[in-house]
């Protein structure tokens, strides 16, 4: 009936479909709530029979991220997914991937922590995702989907950005987005790259058996000479600067005339968009700035709002206050910046955020 394929799917299920549709070559994962549906769906869809995509259940997140390292080293489009404690186990591998400049996609369907924590939604891994999260100076590209459709679309976007910059990209979702069902339009099937295409596009770095036409490639993050290692670090930093200059993505809702602005990402931003509706109905000029890329962070759009005279910012996050630090740096003292959050897997409701806004900013003398 419809010309577009509209489906009702969970965020986690759609990650699996999107991986296949966007021509992913390999998925390596380990079960953990609340993201296990990703691998379950892939195993049910059996893409190795259709597109030739490899799907493998590893023995741990440590193994799965290192399988991603191996797969990415060959120039293939590979990915994994996990939830917070599993991503902590992957942090070593993420540092190596960033150090070796390998493109890959990692989905973190966050749950509450620290430690084993809870299996309910949280945004407590913002620091981990955006501030490196493992040893050494590096950044992941971090995308924050706020809907099932974005869960789908960002798989494609994350692969594109990962290959553009030869850098790991993370989709920072949470249990709510992963478990929620919404309508989604699936992308048309994109063909996987052939070995010949990969050999052409990635010949300067990828390993797939050294042809006579080139020198051997070595994928490594090791360099024992400090002078050379510093040059590598500077090159990485230049790459991150280019990401900051070119890849900032955000959505501004009702910000044009806003006197107050909520900054929120992912599932929180969904909830806060209802807060904006409620506030506007009461005559409060409230806007919402939703970072889509958490790294690179949209600091300029926030700074511009502060310069324009916004009276206060509320960073609404499902954590104890993490992104608020980046908002404060962007605002740079021009206006008060407050944080409102719930933790431990609890989610706030739109009216709760509105109450916090009034208490912390509007009615504060």
């Amino acid at each position: 009936m419809a010309e577009k394929e509209v489906k009702l799917m969970k965020g986690n299920e759609v990650i699996a479909h999107a991986a296949i549709r966007y021509g992913c070559d390999g998925y390596f994962g380990y079960p953990i709530t609340p993201q296990s549906e990703v691998m379950e769906t892939l195993m049910e869809l059996k893409p190795w029979e259709t597109t030739g995509m490899v799907v493998l259940q590893a023995e741990s997140e440590v193994a799965s991220i290192n399988m991603v390292y191996g797969g990415a080293a060959t120039g293939k489009r590979v990915m994994t997914s996990s939830s917070s404690p599993g991503v902590s186990l992957m942090s070593e591998g993420l540092s190596y991937l960033a150090g070796a400049e390998l493109p890959c996609v990692v989905v973190n369907c966050q749950r509450g922590g620290p430690g084993l924590g809870t299996i309910q939604p949280s945004q407590g891994d913002y620091f981990q995702a955006c501030k490196g999260g493992a040893h050494g100076d590096f950044h992941l590209i971090v995308l924050a989907p706020n809907s099932v459709q974005e869960m789908h679309d960002f798989v494609g976007l994350a692969f594109d950005l990962a290959f553009k910059y030869r850098n790991p990209a993370m989709i920072l979702a949470d249990g709510a987005i992963g478990q929620m069902m919404e309508k989604v339009v699936l992308a048309p099937q994109r063909a996987r790259k052939t070995n010949e295409e990969i050999a052409e596009e990635c010949k300067s770095w990828a390993i797939y058996g050294k042809p006579e036409s080139r020198e051997r490639n070595v994928v490594t993050s090791l360099e024992l000479q400090s002078e050379v290692m510093e040059k590598i670090n500077l090159r990485l930093q230049a790459k991150y600067k280019a990401m900051e200059d070119n890849e900032v993505r955000y959505e501004a809702i009702e910000c044009d005339d806003a006197e107050y602005v909520i900054v929120a990402f992912g599932s929180s931003a969904r909830i806060c968009s209802a807060t904006v509706e409620m506030a506007r109905a009461e005559g409060i000029k409230l806007g919402l700035l939703r970072p889509i890329t958490l790294y690179p962070f949209p600091k300029n759009p926030i700074r511009e709002l502060a310069e324009r005279g916004v009276k206060g910012f509320l960073s609404a996050e499902l954590n104890a206050g993490q992104m608020v630090e980046d908002v404060r740096m962007a605002v740079n003292g021009m206006a008060p910046v407050e944080h409102y959050g719930r933790q431990g897997g609890m989610m706030f409701s739109p009216d709760e955020v509105l109450m916090a806004l009034k208490e912390k900013l509007i009615n504060k003398k």
């Binding site: 509209v6 009702l8 309910q120 309508k183 509706e277 739109p350």
Partner: protein, 181 residues
């Protein structure tokens, strides 16, 4: 049109599936929909609930603090969700196992004895579609043909032979639901 429904009961009653049928029915009617479950250990025998939002406009929050309709299928859910029905909203419940009945007078209250009816028919599997039928009788937000399409998309293909019985159960649910307040 925007309808925010919570369906709450025990894991195993088909609460999440009922929500999915409703959500898929909404998709068939070109509504925007969200289906937000409680998930985790609850799935294995404890309480389970799902919030379904149907709207003709984009849905901002999939999380709600008050509901147009609460469909309550056990006592724990009654304790939690009776208070969260909007004034003027609807509470539907199966009296089976309910020891403390709802007390609010600012909402419409319906009962549907689907547990007893399914037991009488020897068809426990039709419980959730019967409840859904009761809900749709009170809140005809989606057309029956779209409900049947939604049902078809929700059930695995091997269960399609049960579609006529489920359709019958939906109609029957509409017949046995009673307004008590």
């Amino acid at each position: 049109m925007k309808e925010t429904v919570i369906i709450a009961g025990f894991g195993g009653q088909g609460v999440l599936t009922m929500g999915k049928i409703l959500a898929y029915s909404g998709v068939m009617q070109d509504f925007e929909v969200t289906w937000m479950p409680s998930y985790g250990p609850e799935m294995r025998g404890g309480t389970a609930n799902v919030t379904v939002v149907l709207s003709d406009k984009p849905i901002s929050s999939p999380i709600a603090h008050e509901f147009d309709v609460a469909v309550v299928l056990n006592q724990q859910s009654m304790e939690k969700f009776e208070a969260m029905v909007k004034p003027g909203g609807v509470l539907i419940y199966d009296t089976n196992g309910i020891t403390r009945h709802p007390v609010r007078t600012d909402i419409s209250v319906y009962t549907i004895d689907a547990t007893a009816e399914c037991a009488r028919m020897g068809q426990a599997k039709l419980f959730n579609t019967m409840i859904l039928g009761g809900y749709l009788k009170v809140r005809p937000v989606v057309k029956m043909e779209n409900v049947m399409e939604g049902l078809k998309h929700t059930l695995p293909e091997r269960a399609w032979k049960m579609l006529p019985q489920n359709e019958e159960a939906i109609h029957h649910g509409g017949e046995i639901i009673k307004q008590i307040r």
